[in-house]
């Protein structure tokens, strides 16, 4: 069963085509990889899915419903959330507050409830606090509760950003280069983490990555982009064997190495 479907999606900036006629289908509960050289349009696709950009042409379907005209917060309400390539935490809030803020979605009390501290407020707020605490522990951030997010080590900032995204109880999680700047050891732990949260939270993961090991190791299906267009699609083996991919992507890296 598919959870996300891109149909003929095109995004133009002025005359420049950042993404052209891309279509792919993400199966529910899978880990799906999006790779390609710099400037291939990967992040642009994330921005289109999350409603930060509006598509020029084409359709994006989530659970069969069109979402390309929704505002980013509405996309989040549908059950899609993401992390950013250049980490975007609430830097001056603590680790706990970062997660607690994102939990807001699971409470429904009004401003008036909070002003008079109604019963509804107290019950729901307690629920949020518990949920945030639980997430902190699951993500191994429990001992950094009161650390200001901006002061966390880099690896933990990435982890916190994922934790914050999970607070929404999403159905689809988009990870934009989660292993950027990590050493091989950290990358392996991140792979384990992604697999674990997938099964634990019962969600689908769409990941952009440059670390080939990570992509090849965890993704059931991969789409390769180049110059905004889909170059290849398939399993890790399919993609690795595809001559077009080797030429455009892996080949390029070989040249750099020489």
């Amino acid at each position: 069963m598919s959870i996300l479907e891109l149909k003929n999606v095109t995004k133009q900036f002025g005359g420049l085509t950042a993404v052209g006629n891309v279509d792919f289908v993400v199966e529910k509960d899978s880990i799906f990889g999006l790779i390609g050289p710099n400037g291939a349009g990967k992040t642009t696709i994330f921005n289109l899915i999350t409603g930060i950009y509006k598509v020029t042409e084409g359709e994006i379907l989530f659970e069969g419903k069109e979402i390309n005209s929704l505002e980013p917060y509405q996309v989040a309400e549908m059950g899609i959330t993401r992390t950013f390539q250049n980490i975007r935490l609430f830097k001056k809030l603590t680790t706990y507050e970062n997660i607690l803020t994102a939990c807001h979605y699971n409470a429904r009390y009004t401003i008036l409830d909070s002003l008079v501290r109604s019963k509804r407020f107290r019950v729901e707020e307690k629920g949020l606090l518990d949920q945030a605490g639980e997430l902190m522990d699951i993500m191994g951030l429990g001992d950094r509760k009161d650390v200001v997010a901006g002061n966390l080590p880099y690896g933990l900032q990435r982890r916190l950003e994922i934790a914050r995204a999970l607070a929404l109880k999403p159905k689809l999680l988009l990870l934009d280069e989660p292993a950027a700047g990590m050493n091989p050891d950290e990358t392996i732990r991140l792979m384990e983490l992604i697999k674990e949260i997938r099964s634990r939270f019962n969600l689908t993961v769409l990941v952009i990555e440059h670390h080939m090991d990570l992509i090849m190791g965890i993704c059931e299906k991969i789409v390769v982009l180049n110059f905004g267009r889909k170059l290849a699609e398939g399993t890790a083996q399919d993609v690795q064997a595809n001559p077009k991919v080797i030429e455009a992507y892996l080949g390029e890296e070989e040249v750099v190495v020489c």
Partner: protein, 299 residues
């Protein structure tokens, strides 16, 4: 210095505090910068005075109507500018503040530029203190809820806020409307304290002074705003000779705070029972820190 004089300063501080609390929510907690709060104060002041004088309503209901007037005006500005990227909101509030003053200058019904005398002096220290306490309670309860947290998130990182499902535009509007309502109440209290209103009282410099107080107290700190309002309103009153240089010093101080200590006096911290306890225990252990850690190690 007699009690009457001190009382006057306290009342003025309390009135300023009300406006500062509102601005604190907008600038300190939501990260929006307004040049138009003097305009919202003016609307509150004139609407409240109209309610008590022309419609003979009691003071408190009149204040509430004044607050609503200010909030409605703010929603109008917000509707037009808060969903645009860039400094549109800033410039629109700047223009708005000036426009309100120009309009009031020409409305003869309210006395025009010459002013509007004979406003009943309902404001006294008791109701100022009570209203301020209610104002602080509202703000504290709002900040310590999911709604307040959403506003802080917007201040920190707008795009991430959206992707965790926060309707940024809506929360900015809410923060703006509440903020303007506070300014409106402050305006209403001011008119009924002085017994006189004049458009000149609500010049651009009034808006900037309110912002300075918020910055001085520390962006994102309610206790900082309270201390800031009390100190910065009374200090120049007490040091009359200093008056001429006051704004010069303010200007330098604002730049200095921004480039050295942008967190202001309180640095985003609050004075709460818990924080005071923590501070005291830290101070108490200050004399013998080494001993304690050694003891801890042995265990």
């Amino acid at each position: 210095m007699d009690w009457f004089y001190i009382k006057g300063i306290l009342i003025l501080s309390g009135i300023n505090l009300m406006a500062v609390l509102g601005l604190s929510l907008l600038t300190g907690f939501t990260g929006l910068f307004s040049f138009g709060h003097a305009g919202f104060m003016a609307i509150g002041a004139y609407v409240t005075a109209m309610m008590t004088i022309k419609f003979h309503l009691p003071f408190i209901p009149s204040l509430l109507i004044g607050a609503m007037g200010a909030a409605l005006a703010s929603l109008f500005i917000g509707r037009l500018t808060l969903n645009l990227k860039g400094d549109y909101f800033c410039i629109a509030t700047l223009g708005f503040g000036e426009a309100i003053r120009l309009i009031l200058d020409n409305v003869q019904y309210f006395g025009g530029a010459r002013g509007w005398p004979g406003i009943p002096m309902y404001t006294n220290l008791t109701n100022v203190v009570i209203l301020d306490i209610i104002g602080i309670a509202i703000l504290v309860n709002l900040i310590r809820s999911r709604h307040g947290r959403n506003m802080k998130a917007i201040r920190e990182e707008e795009m991430a806020s959206q992707t965790i499902g926060i309707n940024v535009f809506r929360y900015k509007m809410i923060a703006l409307a509440i903020s303007a309502a506070f300014a409106g109440v402050a305006g209403g209290m001011l008119g009924h304290y002085l017994g006189f209103l004049q458009p000149k009282m609500f010049q651009l410099i009034k808006s900037t002074e309110l912002t300075i107080i918020v910055i001085f107290g520390g962006l994102g700190s309610i206790s900082g705003s309270v201390i800031g309002a009390l100190v910065l309103t009374s200090l120049p009153e007490l040091l009359r000779t200093f008056a001429k240089w006051r704004l010069v010093v303010y200007g330098v101080a604002v730049v200095f705070i921004m480039i050295t200590r942008p967190q202001g006096l309180m640095g985003g911290y609050e004075i709460t029972a818990g924080n005071i306890k923590k501070l005291i225990s830290r101070l108490a252990s200050f004399g013998r820190p080494r001993q304690q850690t050694i003891g801890g190690d042995k265990e």
